[in-house]
Amino acid sequence: MRSNFNFFSDEKFRSIFFQTLVIGLFALGIFFIVQTTAYNLEKRNIATGWRFLSDPAGFDISFSPFINFKSTDTHLDVYFVGVLNTLLVSFCGCIAATILGFLVGIIRLSSNWLLVRVAYIYVEFTRNVPLLLQIILWYSILIQLPRVKQSLEFLDVFFISNRGIYSPRPVFETGFSYVFIAIILAFISSFVIRSWAKKRQDKTGKQFPVLSSAFGLIIILPLLLFFIIGSPMSFDYPALKGFNFKGGMVIRPEFIAMFLALTIYTAAFISETVRSGILSVTKGQREASASLGLKKSWIMRLIIIPQALRVIVPPLTSQYLNLTKNSSLGIAVGYADLVHGFGGISLNQTGQAIECMVIVMATYLTISLTISVFMNIYNRSIQFKEK
């Protein structure tokens, strides 16, 4: 036995020692930063606390489709407008990018040489050019459109100009809520029918026309109800008054530029994951299902896609997350999302950088986490279940 027992050769002691050291250093660092920050804030006369959230914002937001925002509204309202705008462009972008991405991914595996080349050029060009540049480029194209007075007309109700796309706005009158309830009920019953039909098919092998019955329930039934009640909906048409359109609904060029750029950029990445997903399904699967006598479209729908999805969904999730985070680039074209509205203008007006940035970052973390949770649930539902 050695007389001078070395504590450092004991793994347990060493582990506790190092972890305590790290925690200590970390706490010291935080303490130091808090001290300096408090001092700096006081010296620069920057207010602290969350009181600024209820102060009037004093600026206008040009694009706020969900909340009627006025400049007398508070910074908290700016925050909500920002969150909704971020979610709106991310949601629309994710859906459109998924459709375009799947389409391009499948095209790249098609037998048409020309189409494959065109798709390849699209993917390489959009993937290798910075997204910010693409957003700015789309925006600069859109503001080259004719001015309001010379706007392009479609069917006398759609107007396209450098101020955006004006279209009729549906106005719901009393009684429309019944139609709305009918649509929701139709969706629920379609899902019930689907799971019942699946169970029955598993048991007896008999099939049920799920798609056509769902179509009837969701579209034809509410439509019938709509006319029976007496069409409780009218349209508010945009009309040129003075220098701008009054009434109707408007989609601003900032939104269109963001939507187009995010969709086209992300779809290029999604198409690559779709392509590799479909390629990951072995040739034997295709040949085996063909030898069973399945139709070509059935092979794709029943054999290839379900197996490919297992490979596609995890990278697809990270593409959705990327798209949502990339929607923060709206600041470059003045799209009033979370970063531009709350993290930009509100921050500059109140000077409360720390509070604003903490809120913005926490919101993005929440959105990211929510997307991952939902996609993980979906991912688990499509994974191969080992019996």
Partner: protein, 377 residues
């Protein structure tokens, strides 16, 4: 049921140009329709774009043979019907695109750095480069040389970073971000896989936090919050603050990529290293990391492409990278309205860099797949 004895027609030509066309473009009537449609679109579009970018374009002189010095002299402004792109804006501002507002008498320092960057990076990329070992020694000292060369000091006149711009800023951000994030990423990846719960938790939280927020919020953090955290007297210039944000951002992504590599190393490697008495750091530095990094290089290159494209975001916090210089040129009233030329040029420069990187990553992937003596350096 089909009649088995049914006679089939002899196969039509499947070789030669005709056969190729038949197989690849006109295999059935749907394919034929698509091919004709795509060909029609291409015939409409490609000649027009070639004409606009090259044949009808102005480079230095307009169609009257005058040297172009403002937008009014561009062929496409004088004759909107026939004029193509006016590349004169790029020609006139080329210096700014490459160096920003770096003083002209000192510009040799930037050029020298560009050349040295190539000398430092190319041997790093290819295993079989002649005298690679000696070149790599230079790669290690290059950042120090480049810092003094670009920034000044050691007898060279100091050039403030707010005079830097264009490709210089893009490359400084991209290269420094990647170079600094690499060791940080390794530490974070090891930390996340550590057995010590506190360290593993802290690294995981850091990585997931950075990956959950957009880069632009981190740039804002660097721009507006970092100065508040620093004690009086310590001033960081804009470029340095942005670099901190970019490095933190990239290190989190790098860490995840390297963690993927670490997970691919079989447990036996760790056990073998421990059984011959190597310590934790010896095991990682000499056995595990060389193998893990080798297999994660393609992914490292891919995240680096992402970072390189993301450096454009610095224009939002007021730095003038390649895109920033482009927007500056467009804001100048003498060149107003030539947006497409500028954005085309900036896209092209980015495309050249990122496309080269993605080809390199593909090349590595292929090499890794065929390489049998993996890990034997």
């Amino acid at each position: 049921m089909n009649d088995i004895t049914e006679t089939r027609k002899p196969p039509v030509a499947t070789t030669g140009i005709l056969g190729w066309l038949r197989m690849n473009l006109f295999s059935n009537w749907v394919n034929s329709l698509i091919s004709i449609f795509v060909l029609y679109i291409l015939f409409q579009f490609v000649p027009w774009i070639l004409n606009w970018t090259i044949f009808a374009a102005d480079f230095k002189y307009n169609f009257n043979g005058e040297e172009i010095i403002n937008r009014e002299m561009c062929s496409r402004v004088l004759d909107p019907e026939n004029g193509g792109a006016c590349w004169a804006i790029i020609y006139v501002r080329f210096y700014q695109f490459m160096y920003g507002f770096y003083p002209r008498e000192e510009v040799w320092r930037v050029n020298l750095s560009y050349i040295m960057l190539a000398v430092a990076v190319v041997p790093l990329l290819f295993d079989n480069f002649p005298f690679r070992k000696h070149f790599l020694k230079f790669t290690y000292v290059f950042p120090v040389i480049a810092f003094f060369l670009l920034n000044g000091g050691l007898g060279l006149e100091s050039v403030s970073t707010n005079k830097w711009g264009g490709l210089l800023v893009t490359l400084v951000l991209g290269c420094t971000g990647i170079a600094l994030a690499f060791p940080l990423g390794i530490i974070l990846a090891l930390g996340r896989r550590s057995n010590l719960p506190v360290i593993s938790m802290m690294c995981t939280l850091f990585i997931e936090f950075i990956r959950g927020v957009p880069l632009i919020t981190l740039l804002f953090f660097g721009m507006v919050m970092l100065p508040l955290f620093l004690p009086e007297g310590i001033d960081m210039d804009g470029l340095a603050r942005v670099l901190v944000a970019v490095t933190l951002f990239q290190s989190a992504y790098m860490a995840e990529v390297i963690r993927g590599g670490l997970q691919a190393i079989p447990q036996g490697q760790y056990e073998a290293a421990r059984s011959i008495g190597l310590s934790y750091w010896q095991m990682n530095l000499k056995v595990v990391l060389p193998q893990a990094i080798r297999i994660s290089i393609p992914s490292i290159v891919n995240t680096s492409i992402g970072l390189f494209k993301d450096t454009t975001l610095v224009i939002i916090v007021g730095l003038l990278d390649l895109l920033g210089i482009g927007r500056g040129a467009l804001a100048d009233t003498t060149w107003l309205g030539l947006a497409y030329e500028v954005y085309f040029f900036v896209s092209l420069v980015f495309f050249i860099f990122t496309f080269a990187m993605s080809r390199y990553s593909l090349y590595l992937e292929k090499k890794l797949k065929t390489g049998i003596n993996m890990g034997a350096d």
